[in-house]
Amino acid sequence: MDLDFSPQDAAFRAEVRAFIAENYPQALRDKQRDEEALSKEDYLSWHRILAQKGWSAPSWPKEWGGTGWTPTQKYIWSEEQARADTIAVLPFGVNMLAPVIYTFGTEEQKARFLPGIRDGQVWWCQGYSEPGAGSDLASLKTKAERITGDDGKDYYLVNGQKTWTTLGQYADWGFFLVRTDANAKPQAGISFLLIDMTSPGVTVRPLITLEGGHEVNDVFLDNVKVPVENRIYHENQGWTCAKALLLHERSGIAGVARSKRGLERLRQVARTQLADNAGPLLADPFFKRKVAELEIDLTALEFTELRTLAGESSGKGPGPESSILKIKGTEIQQRLTELALEAAGHYGAPYLRGLPHNIGAIGPDEAHGVAGAYFNTRKTSIYGGSNEIQRNIIAKAVLGL
């Protein structure tokens, strides 16, 4: 048991650090600093730079563009990206859909879809949840019926509504869970379909969240014709794909590197903000104690994640214990935003989104957007299977209760 980074690891770290420093777009940096909304092209620009370097999909099989990095290298990679405050490569294609395609798809499907995901040419969104199917995902009702088109080819005719589709407003394609057998047991009648979002009958409607942002959408599917060859894996066995995908979603959700960076920023804020009496907030025993507790909590999560990574490198895929990473990871992300809001004091109150630029800054820079971030981050214990559902998974699948 050791934690030492080898000389090769150190060299790798130096290499990726230098690459990020030299290649991360300054225009993106400026927008992030000013908390400007990012456009579709902004999101994809960094992805495409990484794709050119061959680093956009590190975890994939090598033949499709994976880097073949060791778990340690992947860990270093995520740390360096967080350290440099890069935007994240969008997870929907690279981390969520692609493992389903390279695990369950045909050779033809792999060749058709994986390059576009890897290279950041196609934006994917997720069509899982429905108004009546959240935690109980298997109760989904969106219906897909087999029909023969005028061209004599086989299609699914898809009807229904999906919701909470993150950044669906930019999506070129979506991966959807649909019901293909209404009479089977809930999990047994579901298929996994890839749908071109420009198909007639697809409507995306914004959902505004409580902090005022537009991240999520309703997606309406009204007689959408989907070629049968866009189905991944067997008909009525889409739940197998969905479960595998959720495991990947969960293991990536811990966000340790980003939270470590968040803690650094919190320390910085608390060094700048003043306590009730003279001196920085970080010298205030109450606040200091809370930051210390959070750091310890994050350290525990980091080592739990490292143990999971070590397990993966010895050939184990992510298992149900990845629910631990989801629960603790999101709790820590939420705690970070709580403390940032506390640190901002009175200046947590101004609502600056949509305020005309000419009014100038209100309050210190580090207080900008902290309340919005706190409100928005409440979603993390809800999405990807609520933390209550994750506890059910651990109870059943890990503890055998």
Binding site: N277, G348, L355, A371, R378, I382, E388, R391
Partner: protein, 379 residues
């Protein structure tokens, strides 16, 4: 021992509740807070004329109805239930508090203006460097002949865009954090040299950064004793804390009720999610927090008339409980609403945002724990 309300107080509650039910539904409020001015002066006028509630907490000899802090509590709790943004706290509780306790020149006319709805106050006390320490002031008032010249920057002055007058804490002596040297002034919002930058707040109200640039004040602008007003400020802020706790009780009740209602009708796995024991226990814990918050709010109001040290200890204790309840109940209301709780279109998120802001108002949990510790256990 008696925790019941008088007939007058019960009538006051009914009057306010029924007016708000008719005129302050969620959609109407939402439209109003997004409008250019962010509030409805006609609602304020109705409070004064139609309901007559702005005088409830003032003595009869000043034109009021002879009530007091408990009347403020009743009004504020109902306001919390409807997320009322109009400036009752700043005008009646805080402005009225300063005028009643200090009785400065012109107090009677100002109070009659408050009661008829023509005078509104905003309390400019916070400063960018001061966090929650009421004495941490760099705003100064310098003697100038018989009057004063005011200079400084006040942070996040809630309701300032709507106020006819500002009540301003400033240093007339002493060093930045000294208890001595604090004075309070009444400033016309439109006086020369008063510069404001107005903005909305995350919970749907309006506030300003207020800059005083050589503002000339007459001698009569002074409220309370020159250089010795910190005890007065603490008293009024304690009264404001009590009223804010009452508002929080209204907000918390709605968060809890809304969650019960939603989980009873939301079905997953073939049953209402309220049937799951883990959620039942969560809602029980929320309920306990709400009841404890209500108890502490009553306690806080009862102790407002105690000697300063006893009063301060009680109010800090109440604010700690309310702050914790706001966080626990607010966060869990969102969690139990699932994705729906995250949407702008549902009221629950708006109650959560108000609850979150109340956590920090007039001092965070940490601030009041420290104040309580010092008063109760010694420094």
């Amino acid at each position: 021992m008696d925790f019941s309300f008088t007939d007058e107080q019960s009538m006051l509650r009914d009057t306010v509740a029924s007016y708000l039910a008719d005129h302050y539904d969620f959609d109407t409020r939402r439209t109003a807070v997004k409008s250019a001015s962010g509030w409805r002066p006609e609602v304020w006028k109705a409070f004064a004329e139609e309901l007559g509630i702005l005088g409830a907490a003032f003595p009869e000899e000043l034109g009021g109805l002879g009530g007091g802090a408990i009347d403020n509590m009743v009004v504020m709790e109902e306001f919390g239930k409807a997320l009322v943004v109009e400036p009752y706290l700043g005008t009646v509780v805080i402005g009225g508090g300063f005028l009643k306790h200090a009785n400065p020149a012109g107090a009677a006319e100002l109070i009659s203006g408050v009661i008829d709805g023509s005078v509104t106050f905003a309390f400019a006390y916070a400063e960018p460097q001061g966090r929650y320490n009421l004495a941490n002031l760099v705003t100064t008032a310098r003697k100038d002949g018989a009057g004063w010249v005011l200079n400084g920057h006040k942070a996040v002055v809630i309701g300032a865009p709507w106020a006819s007058h500002l009540i301003v804490t400033a240093r007339t002596g002493g060093a930045q954090r000294d208890a001595g040297g604090v004075s309070v002034f009444l400033v016309d919002r439109n006086a020369g040299g008063v510069v404001t930058r107005d903005y909305p707040t995350v919970d749907g109200r309006r506030a300003s950064e207020v800059f005083f640039e050589n503002v000339s004040l007459p001698a009569s602008a002074l409220i309370g004793e020159e250089g010795a007003a910190l005890p007065l400020v603490e008293q009024v802020v304690d009264e404001a804390i009590a009223a804010t706790c009452a508002e929080a009780c209204g907000v918390l009740r709605k968060l809890h009720e809304g969650t019960l209602e939603y989980t009873k009708q939301r079905k997953q796995f073939g049953q209402p999610i309220a049937a799951f024991q883990v959620l039942q226990h969560r809602m029980v814990d929320m309920f306990i927090q709400v009841e404890q918050a209500v108890s502490m709010t009553y306690m806080a109001h009862i102790k407002l008339s105690e000697p300063a040290a006893e009063r301060a200890k009680a109010l800090s204790a109440a604010k700690v409980q309310i702050g914790r309840a706001c966080r626990f109940v607010g966060q869990n209301a969102i969690q139990l609403h699932g994705g729906m709780g995250m949407t702008d279109e549902m009221a629950i998120g708006h109650y959560f945002k108000r609850a979150t802001m109340i956590e920090g108002e007039f001092g965070s949990v940490d601030h009041h724990l420290h104040r309580y510790e010092t008063l109760s256990l010694g420094a």
